[in-house]
């Protein structure tokens, strides 16, 4: 089936099978930041935004994105880099495999929640697993990124 997507503010037309997941379609188009980690909807590595909302691209069929706005980390490079530098400075990045999905979720959270508490941050990020860092460094980085906005 033929799909038309607005990905990172650029129009794309692609042929997709009815059972192709959005993650696979996006990787075919060169968005290689999207990783498939667990492929069971648990790890959050494949997080992208559809209409500005974070979704699991490994779980969302590509046809559900027809006509919609899709954002990957390639589309928010300056903001992603700003947070990634803080992550690195806090020593909260090791293998980096989870980072694109994690950064997408953190920036989505920043857009969605005003002055989130630490508990609210933990809840929002419950769907992003990291097997290297133990999360404490990530929490420090998020607090730094959000400035004085964490309660």
């Amino acid at each position: 089936m033929k799909l038309e997507l607005l990905i990172n503010q650029k129009n794309y037309e692609l042929e997709a099978a009815p059972d192709e997941m959005l993650a696979d379609a996006l990787r075919r188009l060169g968005m290689l930041s999207i990783r498939k980690g667990c492929d069971t909807s648990c790890c959050g590595l494949c997080t992208v935004w559809v209409e500005g909302n974070p979704v699991l691209s490994c779980t969302m069929p590509a046809f559900r994105a027809q006509g919609k706005t899709v954002t990957t980390i390639e589309g928010i490079q300056p903001e992603a880099e700003k947070f990634a530098r803080i992550l690195a400075a806090e020593g909260s990045e090791q293998c980096g495999f989870c980072s694109p999905g994690f950064i997408m979720t953190v920036i989505a959270m920043k857009n969605e929640l005003k002055n989130p508490s630490e508990q609210a941050i933990q809840h929002y990020l419950a769907g992003n697993l990291c097997r290297c860092t133990g999360y404490m460094g990530q929490m420090r980085a998020i607090k730094t990124y959000l400035g004085g906005e964490v309660q």
Partner: protein
């Protein structure tokens, strides 16, 4: 991973009805999260995402959730956070992460009658009806009692009342299915106690509910009610928990939920 040979995307419910008649074996797609854990080969699939079923609407009498409303929509909806002590948002908030809840739909969660469902116990605690394409509108409790038939769930309607409600769950890990959950509600003098993930689907503990309803508010024997619920329901074993463990923990969750409603 599943495969789909042919996909239909009707623009409205009338078209969906025609497809349901034309293709008796058509598979209705929900959020696809659970589907992708299996290995189904689907010849013909029906996607309802273009049928305008992704809205939560509110009238003076009820709140209606379209079948394609996501669990995240439920979690953040102002009306659902305002009524029933936010029992529905609380029930879905435990399900994996925000990104998953943006994919999972209320229609699939209800229609599939999953035993591990977080949302079914909470919905059973409320005055909930479902609307089905072929079978029409019926109370959720009646729908759950019927065998799964060829139909499409269109919406879930919750009557707005002054009901108080609470939801409790027990998981081996945060990103796992619940091994047991319970919901309790009180509307005027009528209490309802529900236990799910037994691992069979959620069920009302009728005797416990009646016992609780017959007790005066200032002399409620929570232990007795919890023991009654554990005794009247059946529990099974699977790789997550044994029947004995579920029966024991059922009392804990029911007690906590009653306490929350009384608080």
């Amino acid at each position: 991973m599943f495969t789909i040979d042919k996909l239909y995307q009707p623009q409205n419910i009338a078209e969906a009805a025609e497809l349901l008649t034309k293709y008796p074996d058509i598979t209705v797609l929900g959020g696809c999260g659970f589907l992708k854990l299996g290995n189904r080969k689907i010849a013909t699939a029906l996607d309802l995402s273009l049928c305008s079923l992704a809205e939560i609407s509110e009238t003076e009498q009820y709140i209606e959730l379209g079948a394609m409303v996501t669990l995240r929509d439920v979690e953040v909806n102002p009306a659902l956070n305002q009524f029933f002590d936010a029992v529905l948002p609380k029930a879905v908030a435990h399900i994996l992460g925000v990104q998953f809840r943006r994919c999972a739909t209320i229609g699939a969660s209800v229609y599939s009658k999953y035993g591990f469902s977080d949302i079914l116990p909470a919905l059973l605690a409320l005055d909930t009806e479902v609307e089905l394409l072929r079978s029409g509108r019926m109370p959720l409790v009646d729908f759950l009692a019927k065998p799964i038939s060829r139909d499409v769930l269109i919406s879930v309607r919750i009557i707005k009342d002054s009901r108080r409600a609470a939801y409790q769950n027990l998981r081996n890990a945060g990103a796992d299915f619940p091994i047991l959950n319970a919901a309790v509600s009180r509307y005027e003098k009528q209490w309802t106690v529900i236990v799910g993930a037994r691992p069979a689907r959620a069920e009302i503990a009728v005797q416990a509910s009646q016992l609780l309803s017959d007790m005066a508010t200032d002399s409620i024997d929570i232990d007795k009610v919890a023991a009654t619920a554990a005794a009247e329901l059946t529990f099974g074993s699977n790789n997550k928990a044994s029947a004995d463990y579920r029966r024991a923990m059922c009392q804990v969750l029911v007690k906590r939920a009653i306490g929350e409603v009384l608080a």
